[in-house]
C-alpha cells in the first residue's frame, strides 16, 4: 500500500508525483538563511525544530528561473542522512495510485528529463514521477 502512495505537488507550474515512501513530511518553511557561494538551486538553510534543512528551489534545480515569490510549502526528504526541504508551488493531494509506473514515452526538456523517472496516470491526467535525489543534485550535476 505504502509504495503505491504518492504525493501530488506542483513544481514550476506542472503537477508531478513523488513517492510518499521517499518523503519525511510536508511543512511550511519559514525564514531561509542564505548560503553564499552555494549552487543556485540551494535557496539556503531553514530550521525545522532542532533540524537544519537544506532548502532546494525546485525551479532552479530544473534549470528554470526562480519564481518571483518564494513558496513556503516544503516537502522534506532525507537523502544520505541529510534533510532537505524541496520548495514546491503547491501541495495538491496525497493518494494511492494502483496503476503501474510507465517509462517516459516522450521527449522532455533537459531539466525535466533528468529528474523524471517515469509517468503515472492520475485520474484524467498523466503525471511525471519525480526522483527527489535528482532534484537535489541540481542542474549542473544533471547536465553532466
Amino acid at each position: 500500500m505504502m509504495d503505491r502512495l504518492y504525493l501530488i505537488a506542483t513544481i514550476a507550474g506542472q503537477p508531478v508525483a513523488i513517492r510518499a515512501s521517499a518523503i519525511d513530511s510536508v511543512v511550511d518553511i519559514g525564514e531561509v538563511t542564505p548560503v553564499p557561494r552555494a549552487p543556485a538551486h540551494v535557496a539556503g538553510l531553514a530550521a525545522l525544530r532542532s533540524r537544519v534543512l537544506t532548502i532546494i528551489c525546485c525551479d532552479r534545480a530544473l534549470g528554470l528561473p526562480a519564481p518571483a515569490r518564494r513558496s513556503t510549502r516544503g516537502v522534506v526528504v532525507a537523502i544520505d542522512g541529510h534533510h532537505y526541504g524541496l520548495l514546491v508551488s503547491a501541495i495538491d493531494d496525497a493518494c494511492v495510485i494502483e496503476d503501474d509506473v510507465r517509462p517516459v514515452r516522450t521527449r522532455l526538456d533537459a531539466g525535466w528529463d533528468k529528474v523524471a523517472v517515469g509517468m503515472i496516470d492520475f485520474g484524467e491526467e498523466t503525471l511525471l514521477l519525480i526522483d527527489p535525489s535528482r532534484l537535489i543534485a541540481g542542474p549542473d550535476a544533471l547536465a553532466a
Binding site: 557561494r37 552555494a38 549552487p39 537544519v52
Partner: protein, 777 residues
Amino acid sequence: MDDLLSEFIAETRETLEALTGEVIAWEADPTDRARLDSIFRFVHTVKGSCGFLDLPRFEKLSHAAEDVLAELREGVRQPDVQLVSAVLAVIDRIGELTEALEAGETVPGDDEHLIAALRAETVARTQVVAVPQQVHQVRAPVRSIRIPLDLLDRLMSGVSDTVLARNELARRLRHIDEPGMEAAFERLSTCVAEMRDSITRTRMQRIEKLFSALPRMVRDLSADLGKQVDLEIDGSDVELDREMIELIRDPLTHIIRNAVDHGIELPAARAAAGKPAAGRLQVTARQSGNQIVIEIVDDGRGIDDKKLVARAVAAGVIRADTGDSMSSDERAALIFSPGLSTADAVSAISGRGVGMDVVRANIERIGGVIDLENRPGQGLKLLIRVPLTLTIIAALTVTAGDQGFAIPRSAIEEICHDGGGAIRIDHLGGSSVATIRGRTLPLVNLETVLGLPGDIAQRGRTLVVLRAGFGCTYALGVGAVHDHEELVIKPASPAIMSAGVYAGKSLPDSGVPMLLLDVAGIADVAGIAEDDLASVSAAPAPVEVERQDLVSTLLFRDAGGHRRAIRLALVERIEDLASAQVSHSGGCMRIAVDGRILPLLGLDRTPETADIKIIRLNDGAVELAYAIDDVIDIIAAPVRPDAPSRDERFAGVLLVDGVQVELLDPLYLFSRANEDRSVSADGPLCLIADADDPWMREILHPLVQAAGYRVAFADDAAGAAADVLIVGDSSAPVEGAAGASVLRLLPDRPLKGDDGVYRYDRLAVLDALERTARRAA
C-alpha cells in the same frame, strides 16, 4: 539467524581488538598464564559459536588454534616466535573472515598453510626481535549493552530539540511574573543540561580502542625492519567521541610508523650512539580541559633540521635566508609542509616526512593542533591536541553582510581591530595585505569571498588572524565579531559543502541556522594558496624595516590609574613589594630592597594598600623603582612617539588601540633619581650656550648635572667662570667665557672632519665632556 550472525560478528570484532595487545604481551612473557588463558578463551568462543552458525572455515581455524593453545597450557609445547606468529596469523584470518562475513563476501584462498604453521614443530629457537611490552591495560568487567548508533543520534537530536524548546519557553517566561516559576524553570534547565551531557557521553569511547592495535603494529614493523622497540602505552582509559577516534586512527598510525621506520635506529647504530639497543616509544593520552592530548615520544635520531632546511630550500618551500632566521623547532616543523612529503624526500633527508602534511591536515580538519619538539640525535616528541568531540566546538561568531557565521576557535590566532596605528593595510595589485605588528599577512574580506554586500573599504574593521595550515596564516576581515559560543556542529549537505568554504552547520540558541566556516577552504577560494603566502612572508625587506621601527614597550596603569608606557629594554624586572618597604624619607619616596635603598618614583605618598607593584629600572649606572598599579600589556610601539610631549616627564604620547598613552622619559627618570647625589659644589662648571633650546635645557641639562657638573646658562652671570662651554650647531656666539674649552654638539652624526659630538650619543657626550673639562683644568 541474522540476529545471531550480526551478534557474532560484533562480538568477535570487539574481542579481536582487545586481543591483539594480549597476544603481544604474551609473546613478551610466555609464562604469563592470564594472557594465554584469554587468548584461549577467544578461540574457544569462536569455535563454539561458529559450529552453531555453520561457518566451517572459522571452525577449522579456531579448532586448530585451540589445540595448540591447549598444548601450551598443559606445558606440552613452549611458545616461540614462530608459534606466536602462527597464532597471530590465525587470529588475523579470523578477523578477515569476520569482515568478509559482514560484507557478504568471501576471502579467497584456503587456510591450510596457516593451520600447518601452527602444527609445525620449531627446529631452532630464534631470538625474539621485537620486545614490545608493558601494555598497561586495566580490564575491569563493565556492565554494558549494545545500542545501535542511530538510536544514540536520535537521542542526541531529541535532547537538542528539548534545549530549543526550553529556550523558547525562557523567552515567553520573561513576560510572566509568577513567584516560584523561575525556580521551577531553573530545575528544568539543570535537568536538560545534565541529560545533554550524559547523552554526549554515550557517544564517548575509550581511546583504548585505538591504542590496543599499536603493540601488534609496532611488533610487526620492528620485526620487519630488524629493530628493537619497547612500546609504552599510557592513558588508554581516556574517553573520546567515537567519531573522533576514527578520525585520529590514520594520523596516529602514520606517526607511529614513522617513529619506528625513520626515528628509531637499528640496534648497531643505537649502540654506536651510546643508546640502549632497544628504542623506546611512548604513547600517552590525557585529557586537558575540553581537549585530548596525545603524546608520541621516541628516543630515535630525531629530525635532521639542517638537512630538512636544505631540502625545503631546494624544493622552493622556503627561501634560503628565511631558513637562517628560523628557530630549530620551526625548521623541524617544515616536515609538515607539502613540498617535502614525497618518498624521495624521505630518503634524501634521512628524516621522516612521509605524508606528514597529510597528518597535519587531517588533525587540523577536526579542529586539532599538532606540534613537535625535536632533539636531533636524541629523539622526537609529537603532540596532538584534539577537541573531545566533533559535535560541540568552541566557536567565534562573526557577521558579514548582516549574516552570522561561525569560525572554529582552534584556528584563530588573534583578533585585532583596524583602528589604532598598529595595523597597516596596503592594496597591492588587486589584493590586500595587512601588516600587524611587523608581520605581513594576506588580507581576505569575508564579504568578498562570500559575495555579500558590505563596506569593506571602510576603516575600523575587525581582523581575525587565522591559521589554515602550515605556513598558511591570513587575516580575515569581518563586519563584526559577536560572541564566543559552544556550538553543536552537524555535517552540512553535499550541495552546501560544494561551495568549498563551509565545514558544517549549526543551530545556535537563536534558532537561526548558522554555517561554520572552513578556514582552509576560504584561503583556497580567495586564491591565497600556500605559494602566494610563501612569497608574501618570504619578502623579508618590508617586514624587517617595519620591525626596526617598532620597539617593545611595556604598557601599564600607574599608581594614579593613568595608562602609561615605558620602553621594555629599560625594565629590569617587575616585582611586588610590601608597603612596609616604602617610606617617605629624606625628602623623597624610597624603597628598601635587597639591602639597599632605591629612589621610588611614580608615587608621592606612602601607599594605603598592603603591597604595591613596582618596575625596577636600570641604565647600567643608576637603579630606580617606579610604582605602578598593574601591567596591561607588552606592545610593539613606534620608536618615534605619535605626538611630542610638553611635559618633561614624558618622551611623547603613543596611540595605543585608539587611546593616548604617555611614554615615560627615561632621561627624566634617571636624572630625578640622580638628584640624590648632590652636585659637588666644586665640580667643573659647564656653560650651556642656548638657554632657549628646549633640548639643551630639558635633556642635556639633567644629563650634564647628573654627571656631576655644575650647570650655568648663557644668560647666567656665573657663566663667566665656566670650565666648559657647550655649544650647539646654531648657537649664537657666547661672550664672557673666554677660559672655557668648547664642546660642540651636532644634531646629526658627524661626518669625517666635522668637529663635534653627536648629541644623542649619550656616552660620547659624557666622554667628550669629561675630556674637555680636563683640558680646561
